[in-house]
Amino acid sequence: MNGIHDLGGMHGLGPIRPEPDEPVFHEDWERRVFGLMVATFGGGQYNVDEFRHAIERMDPAHYLESSYYEHWLSAVETLLVEKGVLSADELAARKAELAREAA
């Protein structure tokens, strides 16, 4: 599939910025996304090709703007909804509930 993820050879994407002594994760939510992906993948909810394809199906503008673990989060949400494990409504309702609790 030729899409925005197929970056090899593309021009104008700027300098590479290595971070000295970079931590494995930068935010706690990145840790959780990593763990949730490995756990649901390991639980057989989807395979690696489906996972990569779900990332590749992200909105191309959002793909470029969002961070790596947000790609993972989007892919896990997409696949679990498509496979009927969770519904988009359930996710939205739980998010609203958590936002109210945290406010």
């Binding site: 050879g9 840790r31 763990g35 649901t40 690696v48």
Partner: protein, 201 residues
């Protein structure tokens, strides 16, 4: 685990993650303790120290090096490093004639059992786009000068095949033990964007 330090509203992405985790836990599709264990493993137990052991063994044991270059995954597993994202490993050797560089242009494939999780720059658009079209320019950005007479080979990883660079053993390390040598091997030298440390520091 970090809820005590949230005295600001949760971001959109944090809310999405919490919603996802709480629903999966409720449906008993994940065990949060098992998720903690996965995180702990990849944050603290797996990392480039593993790859450094492999490189140092190859530098000191010619028979091991031959096995490593011939059947990468099996030779790496001899040292106990195997598992997800390391199933099919190809080890490529730097020499005076060839310098190897590893990228994943499509995403982020990387040999987890030997190097741990990839740094942000490896997964970033600038590195993925340019490693294949201007590898010498990319290497210069990392401070690595490769002589014009040395061929540069760029390896584009994928979900089925991952690469580890076997860097050149630095000069002046003749009397060093395998442990001491492992201390010279950097993550970047095993991706191909760096050289091992010099024994003189």
């Amino acid at each position: 685990m970090s809820s005590h330090r949230h005295n600001r509203p949760l971001s959109e992405v944090e809310l999405r993650v919490k919603a996802l985790e709480s629903l999966l836990a409720e449906k008993q599709l994940i065990d949060p303790a098992a998720v903690d264990e996965i995180i702990e493993t990849y944050e603290h137990k797996v990392g480039p120290r593993n790859g450094a052991r492999v490189v140092a063994r190859a530098w000191t044991d010619p028979a091991y090096k031959e096995r490593l270059l011939g059947r990468g995954s099996e030779a790496i597993a001899e040292l106990g490093f195997s598992g997800v994202q390391g199933e099919d490993m190809v080890v490529v050797e730097n020499t005076d004639q060839v310098h190897n560089l590893v990228v994943c242009t499509l995403c982020s494939c990387y040999p987890w059992p030997t190097l741990g999780l990839p740094p942000v720059w490896y997964k970033s658009a600038p590195y993925r786009s340019r490693a294949v079209s201007d590898p010498r320019g990319v290497l210069r950005e990392f401070g690595v000068e490769v002589p014009a007479s040395t061929e540069i080979r760029v390896w584009d990883s994928n979900a089925e095949l991952r690469y580890l660079v076997l860097p050149k053993r630095p000069a002046g390390t003749e009397g060093m033990s395998e442990d001491e040598l492992a201390g010279l091997v950097t993550r970047d030298s095993m991706i191909g964007v760096g050289q091992p440390r010099s024994p003189r520091g």
